[in-house]
């Protein structure tokens, strides 16, 4: 006797069966709390992305926190130099699991055009990165796109827009 056959006679169609993991991931991906680590002009684009014209809160990442202990999404926006690298690492270590990192812009992703003695050549030298956003600076739409990609990475077997086809998201 399957679960369906047990559940359906008692509760009708008022019950949805799922897995705890899926529910948790569903909750996590639609309630990301970003922490902006803004050091340069990309942070200005982030201000555009969170304010009304683009509105990051439409994707669930509304509550921008300025403490690593209250957030689970670290958004690194701007040039990180070598002296700042240990500070960034410390901030990352202070965040609670599960946590994700988005490198916004060319500087955070690769050092950008700062090929010199003082600038870290990408934050992945010190912390793991989930999503890289290109651009100098990127458009707010790209930041939104990064968020959607991250949501798909958090819950890769999600339903799409109420349709019942599960899919495996290709991160390429």
């Amino acid at each position: 006797m399957s679960k369906q056959e047990i559940v359906t006679p008692s509760f009708g169609d008022t019950v949805v069966t799922t897995r705890i993991k899926s529910v948790l991931n569903w909750a996590r991906k639609y309630s990301l709390w970003p922490m902006p680590f803004g050091t340069a002009c990309c942070a200005i684009e982030f201000m555009g992305a969170v304010s009304s014209a683009f509105d990051l809160s439409r994707f669930g990442a509304e509550v921008v926190r300025f403490s690593p202990r209250q957030s689970d999404l670290l958004m690194v926006m701007g040039t990180i130099n070598y002296k700042q690298a240990p500070i960034l690492k410390k901030i990352y270590e202070q965040m609670c699991e599960p946590k994700w990192v988005v490198a916004v812009g060319a500087c955070a992703s690769s050092g950008g055009f700062y090929n010199n003695y003082s600038v870290l050549q990408g934050i992945d030298e010190v912390i793991p990165v989930d999503i890289y956003v290109p651009g100098c600076p990127p458009r707010p739409e790209q930041i939104l796109d990064a968020l959607v990609k991250l949501q798909k990475k958090i819950d890769p077997t999600a339903f799409v827009d109420g349709l019942n086809n599960t899919y495996q998201y290709d991160l390429k």
Binding site: Y82, K83, A85, P86, I87, K89, K90, N115, N116, Y117, S118, L120, Q121, E125, V126
Partner: protein, 162 residues
Amino acid sequence: MQKIKNHLKKTLSGVVADASHDAKSMQEVLVIKPEHIHQVATILKVELKFDVLIDVFAVDWFNKKDTRFEVNYLFYHTAENYRAQIKALIGDNAKPSIDSIADVYGSANWAERECYDMFGIRFNNHPNLKRLLLWKEFKGHPLRKDYPINQRQPIPVLDEIL
């Protein structure tokens, strides 16, 4: 201003090797030998009342064989709104050094530390000659022309202050 200009030339005539006026920046440019810098700074401070030392910086003339490094001092006379640039040409290319003027002008302390940090010029009798901007594991002096553009340094560890 003319008065202080004449006074400047008269007082420093013994040590100045070359003098010119830079019309664009409206300041006197005086070239001296490095061993005279402390004497010159004292005269500027005590006799001529140049009350501000704006900056100390070096230039790396990589292709000049005899004097590769020059150290520049920018002095400012607030009462007369008058500026003087002192250029000290350093003869020793391998171990460039010059006397510190941190005991005459307090602002020279950090300015000379930055100069040491970036160009590796040693300031004799400096009270605290260590790196100002870069971290202590850093090797070499990045604003020298022979510092490789691709050279990377170890990522510093966090200071105790954090």
